[in-house]
């Protein structure tokens, strides 16, 4: 049985015991599958999985679909089923160790993954208006309508991935894929090597483009705060809605800090940004700092508290003790 068939079979089992199972369906784009919040076995029949199954669906485990309760009604305690790639499954680990979900409240259908495409690279190579029908996995990489691609299509995050076979899953028996050696912090190192002035100028340019649509935050499953500090205007605001450089810089700095050591590099913020701002650089740098100083990697060890959610007396910064 192929992994996709297995996924549908498991999702059908789960759909009866879960509030919903979220998986991928083909949408109206050729370069991007989309979330399908399945509530019936017929919905599950539409599930697909492949190199265009890019969105991190664990987002829908933190966006609440519960309707307001009637008086006397008790909340729906059934778990949620989610189709996860390796990077998405790491998000669940992170959400569990931050006590957003109990582990048994999330049923993970872990899908071995050979890497997803980067839609921006795809548009560069094939044009924004192309007639490609489908992108699939072949024996040695992607196939674009059955042909070898015109160039490199692999998403940046996939170069750094160590979990092509998800590290946590509730479904056994998926056919595993090869795990190539993951790149370290390469992209980050060349960025660190930049002259601070140049680096600042680089980010000034990038942040100036931001329209503060907050797609990066809203697509991020780890930005689950009910009220984000950026939205708080009363009684005191940290920043304003101006799309000017100082406010934009504040927003991005704040978000990067809040995600330090928590970001699992699912790449969603960068993918959804309509202004092509390289947000993974910021979060990657924070991940590197967290790793070097506190030896912590997001989404790895479910038993260790998250960097910002825990407190360790042996941490380097010991002034509190």
């Amino acid at each position: 049985m192929s992994n996709v068939d297995k996924m549908r079979e498991e999702a059908k089992k789960l759909v009866s015991e879960c509030r919903f199972v979220v998986g991928y369906e083909r949408g109206t784009f050729n370069h991007l599958d989309r979330a399908l919040i399945a509530k019936t076995p017929e919905d599950v029949d539409k599930f697909v999985f492949g190199p265009t199954s890019i969105p991190n669906l664990t987002l829908y485990a933190v966006t609440d679909f519960r309707r307001p309760l009637k008086r006397g009604e008790s909340p729906d305690a059934r778990p949620i089923g989610i189709v996860c790639k390796g990077c998405d499954a790491k998000t669940i680990v992170e959400l569990v160790r931050e006590h957003i979900h109990a582990r048994d409240q999330v049923k993970i259908i872990g899908m071995p993954c050979k890497g997803t495409i980067d839609p921006k690279k795809f548009a560069m190579l094939y044009g924004e208006d192309n007639d490609v029908k489908q992108i699939t996995w072949g024996p040695d990489g992607f196939l674009v309508d059955g042909q070898a691609p015109k160039g490199d299509l692999l998403a940046g995050k996939c170069l750094h991935c160590k979990v092509r076979n998800p590290s946590v899953t509730d479904v056994d028996g998926m056919e595993q894929v090869d795990q190539p050696e993951a790149a370290g912090f390469e992209g980050i190192e060349s960025f660190e090597a930049m002259d601070p002035e140049d680096r600042w100028r680089f980010f000034e340019g990038q942040f100036s483009k931001c329209i503060r649509c907050y797609a990066c935050r809203n697509a991020c499953p780890l930005c689950y705060c009910h009220q984000c500090s950026i939205d708080i205007q009363k009684p005191f605001n940290w920043t304003q809605k101006f799309t000017e450089l100082p406010d934009n810089t504040f927003y991005h700095t704040m978000r990067a800090l809040h995600l330090a050591g928590r970001c699992v590099d699912c790449g969603e913020c960068e993918r959804v940004c309509p202004m092509d701002i390289p947000l993974r650089l910021l979060n990657g740098k924070m991940a590197k700092v967290a790793y070097e100083n506190f030896n912590i990697e997001s989404g790895e060890d479910p038993d260790r508290p998250s960097l910002l959610g825990g407190c360790d007396p042996n941490d380097k910064e010991c002034f509190i003790w």
Partner: protein, 330 residues
């Protein structure tokens, strides 16, 4: 009709106008002030940021406020100081959106001085579309790649040349100042007989009436479940015009500004009491679509959408406008 070589774009600047034109800023095509021809981008389907930003910037100062001892002592209207400006290379759909925006910002006797100041100063040079934008349906909502609506000058791209057709007096005045040659021969013929490719037609004629009774939630829940409530589809829509008004304060300086706002955000429509009448995703998606395809048609007798396709192309979770409308209409 007039003609010039693309290499002679400096003539645009020689006519005593300021020039706003499409510029590729780190991968984002937007309309900003340019000073040299080399900045102008020609190779794009449509700009990512709609040309509305030339008239309705994302952040705009409305009032200067003087402060003394942390109290406001005076407040003066601060209108944009506009020189005569050529808005070069705006696409026909974005030019089309001005029909609605002009009426909206001058609705029922209220005249918006900020919009109008910019609008009056600008001479619109519409650039015809030689390729069909992904997800566009301009011809289904009254526009098209060669639509001259709201153009003062219409520009044809003929190989390495640009052919200019004056549509209004304002347009011909600008062309006269640029000192261009008369178009003749092959270029003139190419411009006159230009038949660009058009996007597929979608039947939307009945949509405004069909949507009349589609208010109940049941029609909207499934189509909006995956929405992120980000502001992309609205900030980058040429006919979205919502703004919030906020004060910028720094020591004794203060300015009252307006900034783009969007009905997709969850702090939009919050009442002073804290009550949020538009609480759910479906109600926000519903508002966006009904506004464009039901309320505006009823209030202004036109579509509130010019079919540019940006909202569909740029939505990160593939909420496809046409697909959604068709689903809701069912």
């Amino acid at each position: 009709m007039k003609v010039m070589d693309k290499t002679q774009l400096d003539k645009l600047f020689g006519a005593g106008y300021e020039v706003i034109a499409p510029v590729n800023t780190l991968g984002v095509v937007e309309y900003i002030k340019v000073t040299v021809p080399a900045q102008i981008e020609f190779d794009f389907y449509n700009s990512k940021k709609p040309a509305k930003s030339a008239f309705f910037p994302a952040t705009e100062k409305m009032f200067d406020i003087k402060m003394q001892d942390r109290k406001a002592v005076s407040m003066d209207e601060s209108l944009p100081e506009m020189k005569d400006t050529i808005l070069f290379g705006i696409r026909p759909c974005d030019a089309g959106s001005l029909t609605y925006m002009d009426q909206l910002f001058n609705w029922e006797g209220f005249e918006d001085p900020y919009w109008n100041a910019r609008r009056e100063a600008v001479t619109v040079f519409t650039l015809g579309c030689s390729k069909v934008c992904p997800n566009s349906f301009c011809t289904s909502v009254g526009g098209g790649p060669k639509s001259k609506t709201n153009a003062d000058v219409f520009v044809y791209e003929v190989g390495d040349k640009l052919v200019f057709e004056a549509i209004t007096d304002k347009g011909s005045a600008a062309l006269d100042k640029m000192g261009l040659e008369e178009a003749t021969g092959a270029e003139l013929e190419a411009a006159q007989n230009w038949e660009p490719a058009e996007p597929e037609v979608v039947d939307l004629d009945e949509t405004p009436t069909k949507l009349d009774d589609r208010w109940p939630d049941e029609h909207w829940v499934d189509v909006s479940l995956r929405c992120l409530n980000c502001g992309i589809c609205t900030f980058l829509c040429p006919t979205c015009h919502c703004f919030d008004i906020i004060d910028y304060k720094h020591r004794d300086k203060c300015a009252r500004c307006r900034v783009w706002d969007t009905c997709q955000f969850d702090d939009y429509t919050v009442h002073a009491s804290g009550h949020q009448p538009r609480e759910t995703k479906q109600s926000r998606v519903r508002n966006r679509i009904l506004h464009k395809f039901n309320y505006i048609p009823h209030n202004f007798d036109m579509f509130g959408c010019v079919g540019c396709g940006r909202c569909t192309s740029l939505c990160p979770v593939n909420i496809d406008l046409i697909e959604t409308i068709q689903e809701v209409e069912k």
